[in-house]
């Protein structure tokens, strides 16, 4: 009799424990991105990546439902960024923060992560220094230093010894300039001139004139993706630099897939290095592109921020799994240090020390496909690139 009562008690206890743990709670994830304004397409890509991941992997992790809250931040506005993050944490009670397109916005959020006990997974902002601001930041995108460094050697290999660098005067721009110069000069080239132009430049003719005057054999450029890169690439071919044989090197921000239709034939032949091309040939990417295109609505609008968001959600899901839905930012971040998986872009892993993503960087050339449309064609792979910007710090 006593034995069976004990057994009964144990059975009831087990049943109760089972029902308690299967009670579904909702984990909120706050995503901050540009959903309106000139960079609205990038925000749309964030959303497409998130929705694609959730469509392919379900909307819950280990019994915890995941709810995504989107907040709009149309431009680089540190004060508003912080206000949005604060609101997400205090009012909406999110457990995870994600997204962030611009560096200043990320910098403004990092001071509050510890007090909020919330990790930040960056889907885009590409300056190396962000990771040093807080131990609770993980990034699944890239840094301009990371994508630019292989380009230095590529230029020298093509016989170009003198290059003029032209970058937009802000964090990632300066990073790109430094990374290219380091890699290019290490391979034997010489940067003859370095120009930094204001972010709102629309007329690039004077700059192109400077290029011509400098006697460089090639130019390296970096501008924030979107309207500025379009104007720049057009000016390059319109002012005859392309015809004169001055080579064009840039990270892939300048030939992102959503800009290629507007660039048209002017973009053909441009060589860029980047972490992701929509045309990447792998089964994971095929699945991803299909789901993301469905989410974004039009295949032409799909671009790199979507894969940053996709992998960012992967990291967040793993964090939720590791903490079993409890809010513990440090535990969550520790759990994904060293995490490696196959992303639509190729094999990737989160570096345990810098918490930044290690990934393949590809050299691509803009080519015309069978359907007559231009696309980024991968022609060379630089495997497992870390962020050189952080390695030096």
């Amino acid at each position: 009799m006593k034995v069976s009562r004990k057994l009964l008690g144990a059975a009831i206890g087990a049943l109760l424990a089972g029902t308690v743990s299967s009670y579904a709670d909702t984990i909120k994830v706050g995503i901050i991105g540009p959903f309106s304004g000139p960079f609205a397409l990038q925000g749309k890509n964030f959303q497409a990546g998130v929705e694609a991941y959730m469509a392919l992997n379900g909307k819950s992790v280990k019994g915890h439902d995941v709810e995504v809250i989107y907040r709009d931040l149309p431009a680089a506005n540190p004060a508003q960024s912080r206000a949005l993050a604060q609101e997400l944490v205090v009012k909406d009670k999110v457990q995870y923060l994600g997204g962030v397109y611009f560096t200043p916005d990320a910098m403004a959020i990092t001071p509050l992560l510890k007090q909020a006990n919330v990790p930040l997974v960056i889907f885009n902002a590409a300056t190396s220094a962000i990771m040093t601001q807080s131990p609770l930041v993980v990034r699944t995108s890239f840094t301009t230093a990371q994508t630019t460094t292989p380009l230095g050697k590529v230029a020298v290999d093509e016989g170009v010894k003198k290059v003029i660098t032209i970058v937009s005067d802000y964090g990632p721009g300066v990073d790109a300039e430094n990374a290219f110069k380091k890699a290019f000069e290490a391979a034997g080239g010489k940067v003859v001139e370095a120009i930094r132009m204001p972010m709102n430049t629309t007329d690039f003719s004077p700059i192109m004139q400077r290029v011509r005057d400098s006697g460089a054999e090639g130019l390296f450029a970096f501008l924030p993706s979107g309207p500025p890169t379009l104007g720049f690439a057009k000016a390059y071919s319109e002012t005859g630099l392309k015809k004169a044989g001055i080579k064009f090197y840039a990270p892939g921000d300048l030939t992102q897939e959503s800009d290629l239709p507007a660039l048209g034939d002017a973009a053909e032949g441009l060589k860029t290095t980047f972490h992701y091309a929509v045309s990447h040939d792998s089964p994971e990417n095929k699945k991803f592109v299909e789901a993301a295109t469905k989410a974004i609505g039009s295949a032409e609008q799909l671009s790199f921020p979507s894969v940053g968001a996709y992998d960012g959600m992967h990291v967040i899901y793993k964090m939720i799994e590791a903490t079993d839905g409890k809010q513990d930012a440090q535990k969550a971040v520790d759990a994904v240090k060293g995490l490696s998986w196959t992303s639509p872009r190729g094999p990737v892993s989160i570096d345990a020390e810098t918490r930044h993503i290690t990934e393949n960087i590809y050299l691509r050339e803009v080519a015309k496909g069978a359907d007559g449309k231009t696309y980024n064609k991968e022609i060379q792979t630089f495997p497992n690139q870390k962020d050189p910007g952080l390695a030096t710090q």
Binding site: D72, A79, A83
Partner: protein
């Protein structure tokens, strides 16, 4: 004409109402205090704009220069070791005042449209300077991670923003009371006279330029205080604090609430930013259309802004009652 004593009473009630509204905000929206603190900082900016536009008749689309000067001054001071909040506010106010002096000296050389254009050029110059001097200001990355020490050594500036909000509220009330005294002083009267008819004032023997310049300095101090408050409460200073957009928004808020009453500045700010928060979250471009429509409506229907409208309602109410004026 209401008696002086009557106006005094009205102002006391007004200040008490502001305090009450502030405290109500504290109790009703405990999760939104960061936003409310930002509203207070911008309210200080709009108050400063009211001083020169509402009371002196100098229209400006560059007031953010003064706000930004205060914000960056206290931000740079904070990053370099000065973390006591009251000192930071003082630094912001002084920086704003100096910027106001500079701006006034340039702007008051011209009149009408040229003056407006100068104000725009000045704020753009400040913006470019802040962007260029990135070693001090952080450039487009902004100045972040401002660690402000606790107020009076006791009240920490935490994530929930309680200290920041009550601090800001106290500042706002203090500044408001001070401004009420200033605008009802002979100096304030002179400014209003200049707005109405500068030639007559000159004929009276008063000098226009020094009086207006003095008002610019005071306005700068108020705007600088707002900027410092924004810097302290958000712990971040970005280029947006010295932008043309902020200046234009400030003018819109002021016009919405009504020029020349000081209360209008507060009302306009609260309504504008409140609506912005709600509507912007739904769709930011609908927000722009709304503001545009609102502006057109204000110009066509209620040139005195909301406070002008409410005054007209009160006047018509009185005359309808047929009561004493």
């Amino acid at each position: 004409m209401p008696s002086v004593g009557g106006r005094w009473l009205r102002d006391v009630i007004g200040v008490l109402l502001i305090v009450a509204a502030g405290l109500a905000g504290y109790w009703l929206f405990p999760d939104n205090l960061a936003l409310l603190t930002r509203v207070i900082a911008v309210a200080l900016l709009v108050l400063s704009l009211d001083l020169i536009t509402g009371y002196c008749g100098v229209a400006s689309l560059g007031q953010a220069s003064l706000f930004g000067a205060g914000a960056y001054a206290s931000g740079i001071a904070c990053v370099n070791g000065v973390t006591e909040p009251l000192t930071l506010i003082a630094i912001g106010a002084v920086a704003g005042a100096m910027a106001g002096l500079l701006m006034g000296t340039i702007m008051l050389r011209a009149h009408g449209l040229a003056q407006l254009v100068l104000s725009i050029a000045i704020v753009q110059l400040f913006h470019e300077a802040a962007n260029k001097a990135s070693a001090y200001t952080g450039g487009s990355d902004g100045l972040s991670g401002l660690m402000v020490s606790p107020l009076f050594g006791m009240f920490e500036f935490d994530l929930w923003g309680r200290t920041a909000y009550l601090f800001g509220l106290a500042l706002l009330v203090g500044v408001f009371i001070a401004l009420k005294f200033i605008v009802s002083s002979p100096f304030g009267m002179l400014c209003r006279g200049i707005k109405q008819d500068p030639v007559r004032i000159r004929a009276m023997g008063a000098y226009v330029f020094p009086v207006l310049l003095k008002m610019f300095v005071i306005s700068g101090a108020v705007a600088g205080t707002g900027g410092a408050l924004a810097a302290i409460s958000t712990q971040v200073v970005g280029l947006d604090s010295v932008s043309f957009e902020l200046s234009a928004n400030a003018l819109v808020m002021l016009v919405l609430g009504g020029l020349g009453t000081l209360y209008g500045a507060l009302v306009g700010t609260v309504i504008f930013m409140g609506f912005e928060h709600i509507v912007s979250a739904i769709n930011p471009f609908h927000w722009m259309t709304m503001v545009g429509a609102l502006l057109i409506a204000v110009v066509l229907v209620a040139p005195g802004g909301l406070s002008g409208l409410s005054e007209r309602i009160f006047q018509s109410g009185k005359s309808m009652k047929g009561g004493r004026r």
